[in-house]
């Protein structure tokens, strides 16, 4: 058996866990590991400019590929800088393994230089964590970390490694385990057939059904099953922010995103539904509005791989614990065997009602916003132009704010793993590094980060890492000269008292900034040049392009839930509500 040091075993175990790219940043406590990394070619390290960027990039890569993202950082500030990225991954159930260096064991607890209790600091935002105490345990612990990160409901796992464990002078036999078994961890896969039978009966008797599908569809690779089931039943489908692309966005049966900024037709259909099939969702407060007014007449069937998600916020009438793909497969089969469909007449009537809602206030039938005129570019039109120019085929990441909602509303995602955003934690700064991870997963593809002048500045240092690693992402900056979503809330709830959302002419010249990093910068100030500039942007195949689009600073995102209220209580514009 080969003898390896703990540092070498760390890198070897990453390789044996399937890691191709390791996103990170070196430092004292991780130096033995970095030296082992230097002496091999299997695992490629991508040096970022900040540990937050490293975790978001690994997260973007994980979302794009379905594999586990891998991160390597040092102790202390390296570890704490990674925390925002770990929390982002935790809230969105993204599989990550984050390896953090730690001070030597003899120094732990002594407030040593760059010492932080990483296990303690990260505890509430990880699926699990390990501290490795002996070089002999490195391979097995890392193998376990990957198994836990990717199985069941995925999530981030931290592996904290004290420096003495990676000592290059202490070599131990290396053995990567063939199989991982953890007696206290057995995630469910197949759903309970009896429960599925009950659910199918309810689905076939439904008169006003809605399928409400979320991130679990994407994570569980169940988009295909969802589409087949929806077509088999002819039911309307709505996706959560995290589920976009889980059902084709341009399909007739898709009624748009639901929730706080969801479409009128999706939210209204949910409110009036008699049966809701909830798949891979968690009834987030940004979806339900006030929980006790949520969908008063609906029977709820809830499928999720995580039992603790079921009946957490809204009680489920028929809970089904299991992996989305396996449960939907069995559902499709049972419906086929039953040989009968739902009441066609009732469904026809339901569709007629939904189509009427669509015609009345739909986002896609008639624009809900004022038209762009001259130098007044509406951000919605910027996203629509992006959709048109990329023919709906680009991979889109976003940051957090109005631009995120406009992207979610107006870019119709037809494929899973085409849309990437920090849905749960709402992390500004996610978009650019995540786009780098996506670009690494799909070299040559068009990857665009739809962002705003606020969010982009939270991780803008990664423009430098884009150059170094030749990741030609496109940055579509909807620049409204203010923290737009906060401004919207201040308009609606605080009498337009704009507390700390303006920059007082301190914004950088983003074109020059991009050029300073060696990229192409384009500025769009007039609606007539919007499409041409976007076409120019995507014509640069090997360059990072920063498109700074000056958009209407007064625009709001609509629809918007009126809170407290039910799903159907919506502002449709600044003056109009349901």
């Amino acid at each position: 058996m080969e003898l390896l040091s703990g540092g070498e075993a760390t890198i070897r175990a990453l390789r044996d866990s399937g890691v191709k790219y390791l996103w990170g940043y070196p430092g004292g406590a991780a130096l033995h590991i970095y030296d082992a990394l230097f002496r091999q070619d299997d695992v490629k390290h991508i040096l970022m400019r900040h540990e937050q960027g490293a975790t978001h990039a690994a997260d973007g890569y994980a979302r794009a590929t379905g594999e586990v993202g891998a991160v390597l950082v040092t102790s202390g500030p390296g570890a704490t800088n990674a925390i925002t990225g770990i929390a982002t991954a935790y809230m969105d159930s993204i599989p990550l393994v984050v390896i953090s260096g730690q001070v030597a064991q003899e120094k732990i607890g002594g407030d040593a230089f760059q010492e932080t209790d990483m296990i303690g600091v990260s505890r509430p935002i990880v699926k699990h964590s390990f501290m490795i105490r002996r070089a002999e345990d490195v391979a097995e612990t890392i193998a376990k970390a990957f198994y836990i990160a990717r199985s069941g409901r995925p999530g981030p796992v931290v592996v904290d490694i004290p420096k003495d464990v990676t000592d290059p002078n202490y070599k131990v036999p290396y053995r990567y385990p063939d199989k991982i078994r953890i007696r206290s961890y057995q995630p469910s896969t197949k759903g309970h057939s009896g429960q599925i039978r009950r659910a199918v009966k309810v689905l076939l008797e439904a008169r006003r059904p809605v399928i409400y599908a979320g991130g679990g569809i994407i994570l569980g690779n169940a988009a295909d099953q969802l589409t087949r089931l929806a077509r088999q039943l002819n039911f309307p489908v709505t996706n959560t922010l995290m589920g976009l692309g889980g059902y084709p966005g341009s399909d007739r049966q898709f009624v748009g995103m639901l929730g706080m900024h969801g479409t009128f037709e999706a939210n209204t259909a949910m409110h009036h539904a008699d049966v809701i099939l909830a798949v891979g969702v968690r009834f987030d407060d940004r979806v339900t509005n006030t929980p006790d007014r949520f969908c008063p007449g609906a029977q709820i069937i809830h499928i999720d791989v995580d039992p603790s998600s079921i009946s957490k916020n809204v009680p489920a009438d028929i809970p089904i614990v299991g992996a989305c793909d396996a449960v939907l497969d069995e559902m499709i089969e049972q419906i086929e065997t039953a040989g009968e469909g739902p009441d066609a007449a009732a469904l026809a009537e339901w569709w007629q009602q939904i189509d009427e809602w669509r015609r009345r206030h739909g986002l896609y039938t008639a624009p809900r916003h004022e038209p762009s005129v001259g130098s007044l570019i509406k951000p919605q039109d910027a996203v629509r132009a992006l959709y048109k120019v990329t023919e709906g085929k680009a991979y889109i990441t976003s940051d957090v704010g109005q631009h995120q909602m406009f992207a979610a509303q107006y870019y119709l995602f037809d494929q899973p793993r085409q849309w990437f955003n920090s849905g749960g934690l709402g992390t500004m700064g996610y978009g650019l590094p995540a786009a780098m991870g996506v670009q690494m997963a799909f070299p040559g593809a068009d990857v665009a980060c739809v962002t705003g002048e606020g969010s982009i500045q939270m991780c803008i240092q990664e423009l430098s890492a884009c150059t170094q690693h030749q990741l030609p992402v496109k940055i579509i900056n909807l620049n409204n000269q203010a923290l737009g979503m906060v401004k919207q809330w201040q308009d609606m709830q605080y009498g337009s008292r704009y507390s700390q959302i303006l920059y007082e002419d301190s914004l950088p010249d983003f074109v020059k900034l991009a050029e300073a990093y060696g990229h192409v910068g384009l500025r769009v100030e007039h609606i007539d040049e919007l499409e041409d500039k976007l076409r120019e942007c995507f014509s640069y195949k090997d360059r990072v392009v920063f498109v700074d689009i000056q958009v209407d600073p007064h625009e709001h995102v609509y629809p918007m839930h009126v809170a407290p209220g039910s799903m159907r209580d919506l502002w449709l514009s600044k003056t109009e509500r349901t």
């Binding site: 296990i119 303690g120 505890r123 509430p124 699926k127 699990h128 964590s129 501290m131 836990i148 953890i182 007696r183 206290s184 961890y185 995580d306 039992p307 603790s308 009946s311 957490k312 009680p315």
Partner: protein, 163 residues
């Protein structure tokens, strides 16, 4: 409603802090908590008491199950069970009070396990309400110190909580 939850978990460093952290993170109360290794040294057994309606307890047990280190979780209050708590009480005992304290201890079937010139240490085991009642019964006797172990519990009959 008061509930007694038994948890079997890996005897690993950090496992306890994950459980305790879960309760504070999710806003659940812990009234008492005891933990120690079992006859199988790789496992610890924890008993915790908390308050909550059925829905809250269901959420707590699901969240506990979700922790990787947790092997088994049961709500003892769901079925027939035995609960015990150990209490050590130091009281001032001099003059007439010595005999009076001794009488109360006998009534409660406690034991005096340390005798000082002017103090006793009393050991008493039982359900929590009995321990409360004992303190009450001591009346005017000066209680110097009370140490309670928190509740430990076990199911009646042959059913057992095992890995």
């Amino acid at each position: 409603m008061r509930r007694i939850i038994s948890v079997l978990l890996e005897n690993e460093p950090g496992a306890l802090s994950r459980v305790v952290g879960l309760f504070s993170q999710r806003g659940y109360n812990i009234d008492s908590l005891t933990v120690a290794p079992t006859e199988d040294a790789t496992l610890s057994r924890m008993t915790l008491t908390t308050q909550g309606d059925d829905l809250t307890i269901e959420k707590i047990t699901k969240q506990l199950h979700k922790l990787i280190d947790v092997v088994k979780v049961i709500d003892l209050t769901d079925g027939l069970h035995i609960e015990r708590e150990l209490m050590l009480v130091k009281v001032k005992a001099s003059g007439d009070a010595r005999a009076e304290v001794k009488r109360v201890v006998d009534i409660f079937r406690g034991q005096i396990i340390d005798v000082g010139p002017a103090s006793y240490v009393i050991q008493l085991a039982g359900v929590s309400a009995k321990l409360d009642a004992f303190i009450e019964a001591l009346g005017e006797t000066a209680v110097l110190e009370v140490v309670r172990s928190g509740v430990s519990g076990i199911m009646r009959g042959e059913r057992a909580l095992r890995a």
